[in-house]
């Protein structure tokens, strides 16, 4: 047999390894679950064991596929943009309970706009803050729903 041997695709091997790791965690968590009252024909452990096993098989197959170089073609991309968006959400996470909901939303808005090529952060921040104020007032004052709030919202 003349197999078309390609070079191993390292990222795919890593994905396979990650799946195996997740499988291990799921199965380990399955062992942590203890059955409780009554007689359960199939206990709460069934699903973690089944899914963990399934993931392990898929992870192993993915590793094999990666080693054989069987992976979809990928366009090169700009990870910087992804970092901007992820950073925006992370910043929101940090800011929301301290500085407040409105500044947190403004930062997320501006970071995302930056990821999409905007070069005017001040304008973006202002638009994001305006949007957040409208949302906050509507949710908190009109609908009576609570959003997490911080320093900025104490003025409302």
């Amino acid at each position: 047999m003349d197999v078309d041997r390609k070079r191993p695709d390292r990222p795919v091997v890593v994905i396979g390894a990650a799946l195996l790791a997740i499988a291990a965690v799921v199965v380990w968590q399955g062992f942590q679950v203890r059955a409780s009252f009554g007689s359960q024909a199939l206990g709460p452990q069934m699903m973690p064991f089944l899914v963990g096993g399934f993931l392990a098989v898929l992870g192993a197959l993915t590793v094999v596929a990666g080693l054989r170089g069987e992976a979809p073609a990928r366009d090169p991309d700009e990870p910087v943009a992804v970092v901007w968006i992820a950073g925006g959400i992370a910043a929101m996470l940090l800011l929301i309970k301290t500085a407040g909901f409105i500044p947190a939303c403004a930062v997320l808005f501006a970071a995302t706009a930056r990821a999409f090529g905007s070069t005017r952060p001040a304008v973006d921040l202002a638009i994001g803050a305006a949007m957040a104020i409208v949302i906050f007032v509507f949710f908190a004052k009109v609908l009576g729903l609570s959003l997490p709030s911080g320093l900025a919202e104490s003025w409302f």
Partner: protein
Amino acid sequence: METLSLLLNGLSIAIQPANLLFALVGVVLGTAVGVLPGIGPAMTVALLLPVTFKMDPAGSLIMFAGIYYGGMYGGSTTSILLNTPGESASIVTAMEGNKMARAGRGGPALATAAIGSFVAGTIATALLAIFAPWLAEVAIAFGPEDYFALMVVAFITVSATFGSSRLRGLTSLAIGLTLGIVGIDKLTGQPRLSFGVPDLLDGLEVTTVAVAMFAVGEAMAVAAQRGKEGEGTVEAIRGSLWMTAEDWRRSWKPWLRGTAFGFPIGALPAGGAEIPTFLSYAAEKRLATNPEEFGHGAIEGVAGPEAANNASAAGTLVPLLTLGIPTSATAAIMLAGFQQYNLQPGPLLFVTSADVVWGLIASLFIANVMLIVLNLPLVGLWVRLLSIPRPWLYGGILVFATVGVLAAKASLVELGVVLALGLMAYGMRRFDYPIAPVVVGMILGPMAETQLRRALQISNGDASVLVTSPISATLLAVAVLALLGPMLWARLGWSMKADED
């Protein structure tokens, strides 16, 4: 005939000018709140319920019906335009509808959703009026083993939509099943995959996962491809704003099929709206003359599931009105609404308050008409949203998406989940893993598990219940057919081809 005269009597109440006004106000309010991020129809109704208290029962029920339909339609509008589904029932709509919107076909997508909802809602309401008492009896005969068989059918048919590679499709499904395990086990109260984090005990919110996988993952993937020719551009309008003759031709059958899936499954006490939307999507893809268009904005993939979603909502009224059984969050809120007027839905409601019941059914018709009258002219306006410059459009989508998550559950853990799953979804897109199976696995996995274990618990561990119930035996046979049919077909086709060589 008695049914008809009662219904006509109800309609005559509903079309009084004051009541028409209530219907209009309800639809406007419902749509306005329903488009907000993270607020599905159930929360819309819950928040607006106090508004209706001030009125007489007839007027407030009519407004209530308007709010309900408006909330549902508002939810699909944001799903289609911004890819931020506010409830699990509109996830399928978001999948195909947002692809259409980004290709400049947002107008037809919104229109087919609105008209499909109208068609499905009208047919389903008519079925409700005629068959409700009879259907309710059939529906409660459905036991856990029968539900399990239904889930098996759903899993097998939906797996047809899992994309190009079987390995990657199944991997996505397995990830979804894993996410579905997180939280307290419903049957035994034991925490699973929660790692001692209290915020995870209730499990992951489906909408949180959907927003992270769709809106956030998509935004990251599009941003990363920025600068390349033609990648991720958003066009507000290309071609007709309205549905073309071609769109109508492709939409009407999916509307009817979606209704056929949605109404009966919605009427089952544990049926829900997710399974019929999945089944409708799978059926449309299989029946389509151009299945390769699915995943890139096929109008059938919006028309069918959206009709199924609406028909199932009418279906949930069957057990609610005839048995007093609320089978969805929205129905539970509606029950609370009924009780405000000292009306107890249940077997006696049709006898003791026939005029109110038929008034409600009539107002559902009216609200449906009102919805379409109000919303079709607004389609053009909604679609303009997409002509916002891309940095601000996506900035707005991300703010909208995260606010939606926080409105549903004001927890920072939830926001952390959005970040983690958003990054994962970006990676999955990059390596060509399909996204839909994640959501399918996460929704269907726990349902199937619960029903299977419940069936075995009731039978004291006797597995034969899975095949001795006629309903489940039939459904399992359908599942086997759906699984083996295409294989046999393929083998047959393959062998014929081999003969030709």
